[in-house]
Amino acid sequence: MSDARKQRAVDAVIVGFGWTGTILAKALTDAGLRVVALERGPARATSPDFEYPRIADELRYGVRGDLWQPLARETVTVRHTVNDAAVPYRKYGSFVLGNGVGGAGVHWNGQLWRASPEDLKFRSHIEERYGKAFIPKDMTIQDYPVSFEELEPHFDHFEKVCGVSGTAGNLRGQLQPGGNPFEGPRSDEFPTPPLPPIEAARRFEKAATELGYKSFPQPSAMPGAAYTNPYGVRLGPCNLCGFCERFGCFLYSKASPQTTILPLLVGRSNFELRTGSYVTKILQDKGGQRATGVLYNDESGQECEQPAELVILSAFQLHNVRLLLLSGIGTPYDPATGAGLVGKNYAYQMCSLTAAYFGEEVQINPFIGAGAAGMRVIDEFNSDHHDHSNLGFIGGSLIYAGATGGRPIEQMMLPPDVPHWGAAWKAGIRKHYRHSAPVSTQGAVMSYRDAYLSLDPTYTDAYGLPLLRMTFDWHENEYRMAAYSVAKVQEIVRQMKPEKQATLLARPGDHYDTRFYQSTHMTGGAIIGSHPRNSVINRYSQSWDLPNLFIYGASAFPQNIGYNPTGLLAGLAYFSAQELKSSYLKSPGPLVSA
């Protein structure tokens, strides 16, 4: 560290420049602070980085993953149990990590959800409704120390920042036709109207309605009409281009930090963004009482120290946890004793895909549809929206229909009787490509005593620092939860009257398989809670250990939800930013007394 170049001290340093980093950069520069943001990936802007037609390149972005974190430099190791050897995640499969300005907010699908009210008090809700014994002993779920009502204004604000399209289901307590009847009361309508359903979603909606379910438009962070957000930044309507998830949006339509907030920050004299800056450590004072800044390697490889009064940790969930562990902040979680908190409660999602195979007279046009746009959803079997008394599990799944694109290398859905190669494969792709509709589930994985994150003892990154190690496998609760949701999906798909259907789903006994894409909605490891005994951060996302360190992102989630995480993590960030401005900046110190 003695060789580190010392940079001029600033009021706040931001580590990681995706959604939450951008949200905090705006809030803190609004308050007049001098802010430096460090992003380890490259600068990225709609033009020229996402320009048409170069962006419409499935091989480059969808398969090779040019927007993702280069695994050659840093990855994670994975093992199923504490008794196994962990090995590196050497190639992309199960999840894809963002990189560069905008982070995963560039290549997401724009499925923007709020949490259900009960998701935020999940343990007490389940105990109240089903009794304490209903929660398995090894399940370590807990409540958020903040309520839906407290977060609602911030959910609402973020939806307006993104120009989210959708139909309200519960407006100030009044159920609304065409929306999600299970959502918590919202203070306002969605800022833009929903996009019409794409063909797969239209057929799903019809079948689901016939079976008595309430189908509604997927809330989508791509406006349904031309839109100007509260910051004066303009977004265009989505054209269903088919190159959304895994791609940057060439149309200024999909909400990303670039298309919603960043234009405001550019040119602010109290803001500086340094790309290619790889943070390796959060620095503390001698007594371990406060953070003093961060250590990072700049673009040229020079080690630098950035002193700051306030440290904002807003990297991806996995990286937040790794940086805490590398920095020796807090106590690492130990699954043997249950002691320690950093790395605790890693969770994931269990997803399934059911394909409806129609005859060649039915035109699904799978290439028309981009990310969340034009999808339809039912929410009956998510969260605790239905009675679990006799089901033997807790939690649930979203059920949604619609293609996020129909890109042929990644998204060709073939029935199991079509071989993987040869003349019959060639005939099969022709027969099924344009005539198959996907219906998916995305289910919550609970947190468990044996699922956690720690530093790997063997493998290192490009700088020789330990990789993060993930210890994770499925549990009985999730096999049951997913099987239950999938049975409902299969019933709906039958009602869609395809020639046949087939399902991809983890079955009891299957281990977590890192080879195939499932979800990038990884949660926990630096969880939010009511007391330093049960959490790493308090309700304002402030570290219990170092009061001038704030940690944002899905690392805060005590357990996962069936929804996509961006709405909830943005809500928590805005809730925190408000408290920072109204209270912390006037009188820095712990915002919650332990």
């Binding site: 419409a56 090779r64 994975v78 042929p408 063997t458």
Partner: protein, 224 residues
């Protein structure tokens, strides 16, 4: 666009209308020079051409891998960072007997997988049939590839199933990727399945779900 090739390839008839709709004029492509591989040596090139011709054969309707120029695609990929393993974490130690669900755990780059895999495949073919893989009858080649896929052939370095998976993945990439990478020649694979390629604008179709999409593909390079 080469209309004769397109009709023989059996592409969707609606694509013809796209010429008028997009204002493109029919043109004759210059006669192409045959491709000289950069990475693959002659024996390896023969293997690649023979193997992809079985993975996506010419027989039946629709373009085969050779017509789509898949071998050229794979060769060009080998010279890119991808071929050199730049996209993978390749630091050791490399543990064996790891659950397959934890993914690829070998030290080899794609270039090495091909080099070692082809050598072992030809050695094994000579042991079983007395000839290199490219000289086998098509039915024997299919059987051989099927055995590789199941990991049923004992290769000395790269397991046969790993080599097969690499080959099949790159073959499908070369079949479906934008023509700028050297495969999917004349967008034959896109025409075959009815994927409109890099059009990326369905504004006119948002309120017409379920109607047949009338336009043929365009590539990033602007070909239609």
């Amino acid at each position: 666009m080469d209309r004769r090739r397109f009709i023989l390839a059996g592409g969707p008839a609606f694509a013809l209308t796209s010429l008028a709709a997009s204002g493109c004029h029919q043109r004759t492509l210059p006669k192409e020079a045959s491709y000289s591989p950069s990475f693959f040596r002659p024996v390896e090139w023969a293997f690649i051409n023979a193997a992809v011709a079985r993975l996506i054969p010419a027989e039946g309707a629709g373009p085969g891998a050779l017509e789509a120029r898949v071998p050229e695609f794979i060769d060009r990929q080998m010279e890119l960072p991808y071929g050199h393993g730049a996209y993978f974490y390749l630091k050791g130690p490399f543990l064996t007997n790891i659950a397959p669900t934890l993914g690829y755990q070998l030290r080899y780059t794609p270039r090495e997988i091909y080099r070692l895999g082809i050598e072992d495949a030809n050695t094994t073919a000579r042991q079983l049939y007395g000839r290199d893989f490219p000289s086998l009858a098509a039915s024997d080649q299919d059987q051989f590839l099927g055995a590789m896929e199941k990991g049923g052939l004992s290769f000395s370095r790269v397991p046969s199933a790993v080599f097969f998976a690499q080959l099949l993945a790159n073959t499908k990439e070369g079949y479906f990727a934008d023509p700028l990478y050297g495969g999917n020649r004349n967008m034959v694979a896109w025409r075959w399945i009815g994927f409109p390629g890099a059009r990326a604008d369905f504004t006119d179709w948002i309120d017409r779900p379920g109607r047949p999409y009338p336009y043929g593909p365009v590539s990033i390079g602007g070909r239609s």
